[in-house]
Symmetry: C2
Subunit: 299 residues, 2 copies
């Protein structure tokens, strides 16, 4: 079963207390794809500029990531520069150049119209809704968002939330969207906007699922080797959606295992700079860490 993702493809310049990279492969759709690609086929829809390095195309091709939906536009690729100072929980954005991503209007290839699992990575809710319209046969559509859209495009975001099956967002965004500090209650307020479940990402503190009849929390996998948290949330979503597409199990227990899979993939992702760790890890690494995570949580 395939997963389709629409989102950013970027060249990232990142500094953390443990190192620095320049113009590294990045972007929400890339992290998501490399993560979900550990579990199955991924259909990547996005845009790059003419400057997008050939070797990054090879990285994508090295996984089960299909790029028929990857447009190359005249102009430069989206660039993001960020730094983690003091804490590793929040990146400070130092520069953003939208470039070809700024005017991007995603077109889903006809061959992808049958995709059952769809992830709308962080982007303008207007664009996310246009993609959603193009995927009427999806079994599960999940979206991400960010503080910018909660602040500047709330009415459109609220419409989007009524049209998706689930939303994945972080704790700050959850509180900002609902004006409610208590996360479980905040999650329930988002359910009232339409989604069947809400996954609240808390970075190093794990994640929380709020559904109509079910609430549960998982810790993060306690890795000591965090080098670069960039893309952890998208890696989490990729692991989760990849697992769901693989198992087609939407039960509460299935969602929980999908979140656990996302947790484990994210913990692998943050152990390297940029996408390096995701590029080099194998399904066996995921499976063995999943087994450790499962054992860690056995009471």
């Amino acid at each position: 079963m395939s997963v389709l993702v629409v989102g950013s493809i970027a060249l990232d310049t990142i500094e953390t207390p443990y190192g620095k990279v320049e113009d590294a492969l990045g972007g929400s759709a890339v992290y998501f794809s490399l993560a979900a690609g550990l579990l199955g086929d991924v259909r990547l829809v996005g845009v790059v500029g003419e400057d997008f390095p050939r070797q990054y195309m090879d990285v994508l091709a090295g996984r089960r990531i299909h790029t028929a939906g990857l447009e190359v536009s005249s102009g430069k690729t989206f660039r993001w520069t960020g730094a983690y100072r003091g804490g590793m929980n929040d990146a400070e954005t130092l520069a953003v150049e939208l470039n070809v991503f700024g005017t991007y209007d995603p077109r889903i290839p006809a061959a992808y119209a049958d995709t059952e699992y769809v992830f709308l990575a962080n982007g303008s809710p207007r664009i996310q809704r246009r993609v959603r319209e193009q995927m009427p046969r999806a079994a599960m559509v999940v979206c991400d968002t960010m503080n910018l859209w909660i602040d500047t495009a709330r009415p459109e975001l609220v419409k989007l939330l009524a049209e998706v099956d689930a939303v994945v967002l972080n704790d700050q965004e959850t509180r900002m969207l609902t004006s409610c500090h208590r996360l479980v209650e905040a999650g329930r307020r988002i359910l009232d906007m339409g989604p069947k479940f809400v996954v609240i990402k808390k970075g190093e503190h794990g994640s929380l699922l709020v559904a109509r009849d079910e609430t549960f929390a998982l810790p993060a996998f306690p890795t000591a080797e965090v080098k670069d948290p960039t893309g952890a949330g998208d890696s989490f979503a990729g692991g989760m959606m990849g697992y769901l597409a693989d198992t087609r199990d939407h039960s509460p227990a299935g969602l929980k295992r999908a979140m656990a899979c996302g947790t484990v993939v994210a913990s692998l992702a943050v152990e390297g700079f940029g996408t390096k760790a995701l590029e080099t890890c194998a399904r066996a690494d995921l499976d063995s860490r999943y087994a450790r995570f499962k054992e860690m949580l056995r009471l």
Copy 2:
């Protein structure tokens, strides 16, 4: 098997977005005792003033809390006034009156010298060390601390850490003590100071255990009914120590279940104002929530 606790007994005035109480029963040793008292006998060592209300003595007597080590000194009881504004994660201390607690020098009753499980609740490391000296036969001594002592009494605190089996502290204190942001690594630096294991409390985000050969994380129990987080950390420690004294299982799996028990007791505690929820809940409430927590974490 008994647990002995030395710490503060207070009259708390607390305001949260969900209500307010004045001169309510509180203090680290009280929360700890009410929590551990759900699981077994507790020996409470502390001091109150002549103004300590009779009905609060009855609350303690209503549990398996032994008060032969409770001194009544001439003067007023320790008072704390705090408020939770905006977030529920950190209390803002509005006023502290140390009163009789300010000059308190704990004396352990001779009949308590055989206690095997000892908790040194937050207090001056100098006083904590004097108590530790009086308990040479303890099987497990665990201490708490706070930012104040890390800041003002670090040499004494470092000596204490070399004399205890474990330390329980929150994530901010962990980072402050070690100047290390990554919690697993910070926990390992504390192990280098002497303790066999470190339990890092993260409030609504759960807890983390770092031992020489073992690291694991547990989420908090996701209750929607948080009314007052005061005492959550001491309730966690009480549930954990009560479980350890009950089972005498110091293996990694035993420590994990003890932390899970602490997690569940803390989640019950925060559902009421002050100590109210702990006063009214029963062992059956703890057991049934523990079973739900265990099931929640089953992958």
